[in-house]
Subunit: 418 residues, 2 copies
């Protein structure tokens, strides 16, 4: 049987427009994958009466209600009390959770737990507790009157952690079917090109399904199959993944991988090589993405953010003649930056980025969006020129960082740099 869900967010900050309701997006993606139909999103403020009314509407049209927000220690966090009143549940103090919260304060925050945090340890009697390893407010779930009610914290990283660890297993147990999906990650092709190549195939598919999700600078294809068991679902998915790979070729950089940087990390480890970076217009974004990966210090040595031309010369050793003759945004400078970074850090390979992130053209009248990527290797130095034509600074910087990582990936897998 198929379940029907409503997601209720509790938070005045959403109604004031301070934040978007990204928790609802994240939960919706997950529930869709699990085969749960999400038919409504509702947002109410930190107001018990309006929350109560929303619950009374939701319980009559959905058999799964997920709430986000309102579990914190401050006076306006009233989700639990209101839900328990609506569903006739008794709120009781869970001593073990209180101990966990006290311990978190002592060990992680090095201060005694403020007394107003005590209410975070109060949960409905007999509920399933969702522990919160990244915050102090636990979540929970209970069933009453044929409705499953799940309460999650509002801060997105806490909500997501609890979703993966607790909510997905809880919901999976409600269903007889399994849903398996694979994400096929691509870089270098626009969404409409991907769509044109695969459109006819996608619209014909029912189970498995294939859908595209465009992030600002990447296209992800998600293949999803529903079956009685995981093995059966996998067998249904294998030909779909193979077909997409065949259609998109080496634009596909991985399946179920976290991003280009994760692929580069894996390839560097396998080949026992180290990397360094030299960034101008990306201002540290390549380094930042790489160093977000735990354990990456085995392959990443470091880099230079040579924002000023003088830093390109003094720290990276780009020859002053190169800078004078070709300018900071040029193939020659990109090559010299990569070679300089490789030399001063002693890494096996080094990647560089120099370009015009805007908002204005540079002093040589290079257009906003023009970017050069250099790659210095034991086999010589390579360069990619790219001009996205984009105008938004943050998009140009993100796309340029993707290009840099893509150049590294292609070199390490023996593909043309392009």
């Amino acid at each position: 049987m198929s379940h029907t869900a409503e997601i209720i967010a509790v938070g005045t900050e959403i109604l004031l427009g301070n934040i978007a309701n990204t928790d609802a997006q994240m939960l919706s993606q997950s529930l869709s994958t699990l085969g749960v139909n999400v038919f409504w999103h509702t947002v109410v403020g930190d107001n018990p009466q309006r929350l109560r009314e929303a619950l009374d509407i939701a319980r009559h049209r959905a058999d799964i209600i997920l709430t986000t927000g309102g579990l914190g220690p401050t006076y306006d966090d009233l989700t639990k009390q209101t839900i328990c009143a609506a569903f006739g549940q008794k709120l009781v103090l869970h001593e073990d959770i209180l101990e966990d919260i006290r311990a978190f304060y002592q060990s992680a925050l090095h201060v005694p737990m403020p007394e107003n945090n005590t209410q975070q340890a109060e949960l409905p009697e007999g509920c399933t507790v969702f522990d919160n390893p990244v915050g102090t407010a636990p979540g929970c779930a209970f069933e009453a009157d044929g409705v499953h009610v799940l309460m999650l914290p509002g801060p997105p990283h806490e909500c997501e952690t609890m979703l993966r660890r607790c909510v997905e297993p809880y919901l999976r147990a409600l269903s007889k079917e399994v849903i398996v999906s694979h994400d096929i990650m691509t870089f270098g092709m626009g969404e409409s090109s991907v769509d044109q190549l695969l459109h006819d195939r996608m619209v014909r598919m029912v189970n498995p399904t294939l859908a595209t999700y465009a992030k600002p600078c990447e296209v992800r294809l998600r293949a999803t199959a529903k079956a009685a068991g995981a093995e059966e679902a996998e067998a249904m998915l294998a030909p779909v993944v193979a077909e997409v790979r065949a259609a998109l070729g080496d634009y596909v950089y991985g399946v179920d991988v976290k991003g280009l940087e994760a692929v580069c990390f894996q390839l560097l480890k396998e080949r026992n090589l180290t990397l360094s970076t030299a960034e101008s217009c990306t201002g540290g974004r390549v380094a930042e993405r790489i160093t977000a990966l735990p354990g990456v210090s085995s392959v990443y040595r470091g880099g230079v953010v040579s924002y000023w031309t003088s830093v390109k010369a003094a720290v990276l050793g780009v020859p002053q003649e190169t800078l004078d003759q070709y300018g900071a945004v040029s193939e020659e400078t990109a090559r010299a930056m990569a070679e300089g970074a490789r030399q001063i850090t002693g890494a096996d390979i080094a990647v560089s980025v120099t370009g015009v992130a805007g908002p204005d053209r540079d002093e040589r009248d290079n257009p906003v969006g023009l970017v050069y990527i250099g790659l210095a290797t034991p086999e010589g130095t390579f360069c990619r020129r790219t001009d996205s034509g984009r105008r938004r600074r943050d998009r140009i910087q993100e796309l340029a960082a993707n290009h840099a990582l893509d150049v590294v990936r292609r070199y390490l897998t023996g593909l043309p740099i392009g």
Copy 2:
């Protein structure tokens, strides 16, 4: 009289989690500023029955209903028909709008208008038309049974254009009040501590109001006043802002500013100083946040991501004895990194970060979360030691970057580094 609004988004893509409901965020921000209370957001799919039910709920609790989405020419765009049925309005073809749409196709898209676009020119009889200069679907508004119903297109740039040109003037004409708010930004104090200091004050306040919003590593306080005019609202807010500043002292780093990096940028410009960075555990995050700001090359020279100890020595010139004796994560190394970055880049001041981002303790058994910030200046070198006790790598890195920027801010404003 104060108006009460509900925003209803029509779009299956939101319920599937393909996109976040950013239209609702944008509209909410605008309506709050106009003094309209947004008490509900609702999302339904492209389903006439569920939209009808949502409208029937909304018309009994709100006197302004804004809908987004479902105005396009495809088969699932049913917003207008459903709304007109619910409110007893007659949908009529507006010949002038049809001409506009035909002209838009000819001049902007260089193709004849497809015939299924004709229905975009059908609008409720006697409605206020909201024209759409950036798309083909016009919006509209009408009043029925004491409820104002406004229909806007879903694509965010069309929705925003119509909001500014048509919706804001329409709503302004309905209201006598303005709402003004100020965001007081703090760093260094947890949400519970801020809450404890200001709790009694916050719960007593009605107009103006004061509320806290915690981001992962910062706390923002928003003071909001409602009045007949902007000047009056500002006069009501001034003592609240002053009181918060008095209570939180130099934890307040600005009012209505975008972040610590924006404050540092402004201070550096005012003092005509340049900055550089030397980052280990933050891996480029400080540089990345600074270089996200347009025009920042006037004050930011660049930096080094010295992830390996050998890069600290070879590029930043940290003495090998310092590294051997005290280790990479130490006050001495933090100081030497900052001094090295200042020297090789020629910047007036340089900030450094070295710490243990985890997941494991470092080889000297320093705990995860221990971070040293160094600051090299013409007046000497300073250091801050901080141990957040946090365990999540990304939070440790983000918090460490905030500490680095906070040290720069404090130095530039003559405050103790702490």
